[in-house]
């Protein structure tokens, strides 16, 4: 029972990271109708930037800020430099281009930093706080939960309460009508990529200290998990990303705790295949067949 509580709590913290990363996938899907398969690699580049900046300045927080900036910049460069030229004739073209971006980025990181994992320090202790003899949650996990939920709250306010958010949503749902109303849709698509890439970078930065260390493939499993989350939640649904993220986090935590860490990725893939078979639009999406 004690163990269950601990697994649930750490699962929620891990799930909050999946939720953030999945939210980034959802944001780009809504803005550009592309599943950004390059998001993991882009986020790892930003995490390397944070790693370098923290190494130079000695401050985790300046590193965190630089990850956000670097992530946003990656989004801008990838959208303006490459993705903009993808034809929409086939939904696959964007995916293939994204996979090309992954190869370029991971090779560049490998050349620059080598394949070895570099340990990354967390800003707070990672040993669980013990309450009444029961280990519950580490201070770092608590930090992750607060940051993830806080950021989601800010994004929710941005999208529902601001003019920018209204234009972002309108451009995603009805680009032609939005242009007729004077909305600069191309800029909104870029803004969606910048925003999403910064969120994805933050998710990777939060995850890496809990893993073995930073290497060019640090976000590969994060991408698979978050992609599963986005599919489970429905690629069009931010609340689906949140709930799906927490659910997948808890699932992985429970499977790891009771069946072993090697089974966890299999559980994620079984969930992905199961949802795709039963509700291909996602659990939270309106019943509509997916075309991409």
């Amino acid at each position: 029972m004690d163990r269950l509580l601990f697994l649930l709590a750490t699962g929620l913290a891990r799930g909050a990271i999946f939720a953030l990363f999945a939210l980034a996938l959802v944001l780009i899907w809504r803005a550009a109708r592309v599943v950004n398969f390059a998001q993991g690699a882009m986020a790892v580049v930003a995490t390397y930037v944070a790693f370098a900046v923290t190494g130079l300045t000695g401050s985790y927080w300046i590193g965190l800020a630089s990850a956000l900036v670097a992530g946003g910049l990656m989004g801008f460069i990838v959208e303006r430099g490459v993705m903009r030229f993808a034809t929409h004739a086939s939904p696959l073209s964007g995916v293939i281009i994204a996979i090309g971006v992954v190869m370029v980025l991971q090779s560049a990181l490998g050349i620059a930093f080598g394949p070895n994992a570099r340990p990354m320090e967390a800003p707070f202790p990672e040993t669980p706080i013990v309450i009444g003899g029961v280990p519950v949650l580490s201070p770092y996990d608590l930090f992750v939960l607060i940051v993830a939920i806080g950021l989601m709250g800010i994004l929710a306010l941005l999208f529902t309460r601001t003019s920018l958010g209204l234009q972002l949503r309108a451009s995603a749902f009805a680009p032609e009508v939005s242009r007729l109303l004077g909305v600069r849709v191309a800029r909104m698509v870029t803004a969606g990529w910048v925003l999403a890439s910064a969120v994805g970078a933050l998710a990777a930065l939060l995850l890496v200290p809990t893993e073995l260390g930073l290497n060019p493939h640090s976000a590969d499993m994060l991408f698979v998990s978050a992609f599963t989350v986005a599919v489970v939640g429905g690629l069009d649904s931010p609340p689906g990303a949140l709930i799906g993220g927490l659910a997948v986090g808890v699932l992985i935590s429970l499977v790891t705790g009771y069946l072993g860490a090697t089974v966890a990725p299999i559980a994620v893939l079984v969930l992905l295949v199961g949802v795709l078979l039963v509700r291909p639009g996602g659990l939270f999406a309106a019943a509509e067949a997916r075309t991409a």
Binding site: L166, R169, V177, R179, L180, L181, G182
Partner: protein
């Protein structure tokens, strides 16, 4: 008739009050009940002239429009008539920039629009209500209206402008939190029109606003267009298959057939020319 000073009168060769009275006599009482609300009074951008000069456009292959000349004087309503496939939608989409012009000029307020993006045409005051009511289904009524107004107003002025549209279309005020997909056809058309006029356009392009609507709603929409012309001096290019309703409020009518202008006359002449109606307008 109007208490406001009329905008530039070069366009008003035709007596406004007469055509207005005629139209009022033809439409249903819904139009008569419609008093001009606060939204239509007060200072506004005056309508601008729109001028198409030898416009040719189409979807690759054979052009849909072939050398079309249309002049829409500032502060007037021009009805664009013709059967399905005559090129009405293509003409409007080319003017708003959604389709490229192969040749010819589109002149808006004295300025050639060649090379001006769709967004910048809209920002300059060229508004289009596309076919099929084009409400953003995922956004609420309120959000659709704010979206229409926010290139021109921000903050409290935007809220005031949205309230002005609710004054104009009372059914919308009761549904401001409803999502676009929950609205009836009439409500959608009112929302699409309200969203287009909230930013005080200088030229309004409408593509078949009466399509599939009850006669009472059509009358209400036509009455709003007439009010906007009379009170604000708005310029309107109105593509319609509902010839009677369109000519009831229009100053001028242009008949398209297979992408060419076959008639370009004062609306009252078209209303009475039965030979032309039989030939091109099907009644």
């Amino acid at each position: 008739m109007s208490t406001q000073p009329q905008p530039q009168s070069q366009s008003q060769s035709e007596p406004r009050s007469r055509s207005g009275a005629e139209a009022a006599a033809q439409v249903t009482p819904a139009a008569a009940q419609l008093t001009p609300p606060a939204a239509v009074r007060g200072p506004h951008r005056a309508g601008a002239e729109l001028h198409l000069d030898g416009l040719t456009a189409g979807y690759g292959g054979a052009p849909v429009l072939r050398g079309v000349d249309v002049r829409v004087p500032a502060g007037s309503i021009v009805a664009l008539l013709g059967a399905n496939g005559a090129g009405k939608t293509t003409l409007l989409r080319t003017v708003s920039g959604l389709m490229p012009a192969a040749s010819g000029r589109i002149v808006f307020d004295g300025e050639d629009l060649a090379g001006v993006s769709v967004e910048n045409r809209a920002r300059a005051g060229l508004a289009q209500v596309p076919e099929g009511r084009s409400v953003v289904a995922e956004l609420t009524v309120d959000e659709n209206l704010r979206l229409g107004g926010l290139q021109r107003f921000r903050g409290r002025r935007l809220t005031t402008a949205v309230d002005g549209i609710y004054d104009l279309f009372e059914p919308l005020a009761r549904r401001r939190r409803a999502a676009g997909h929950q609205l009836s056809g009439g409500e959608r058309q009112m929302l699409a029109l309200g969203r287009a006029i909230i930013a005080e356009p200088r030229v309004l392009l409408l593509d078949e606003p009466s399509l599939g609507l009850a006669p009472r709603v059509v009358a209400q929409i036509m009455a709003v267009l007439r009010t906007l012309r009379d009170e604000r001096g708005l310029t309107v290019l109105l593509a319609e298959q509902n010839v009677t309703s369109a000519l009831a409020i229009a100053d001028h009518g242009v008949v398209l057939n297979l992408g060419e202008v076959v008639a370009d006359r004062p609306a009252r002449d078209l209303r009475t020319d039965s030979a032309l109606r039989h030939a091109y307008l099907g009644f």
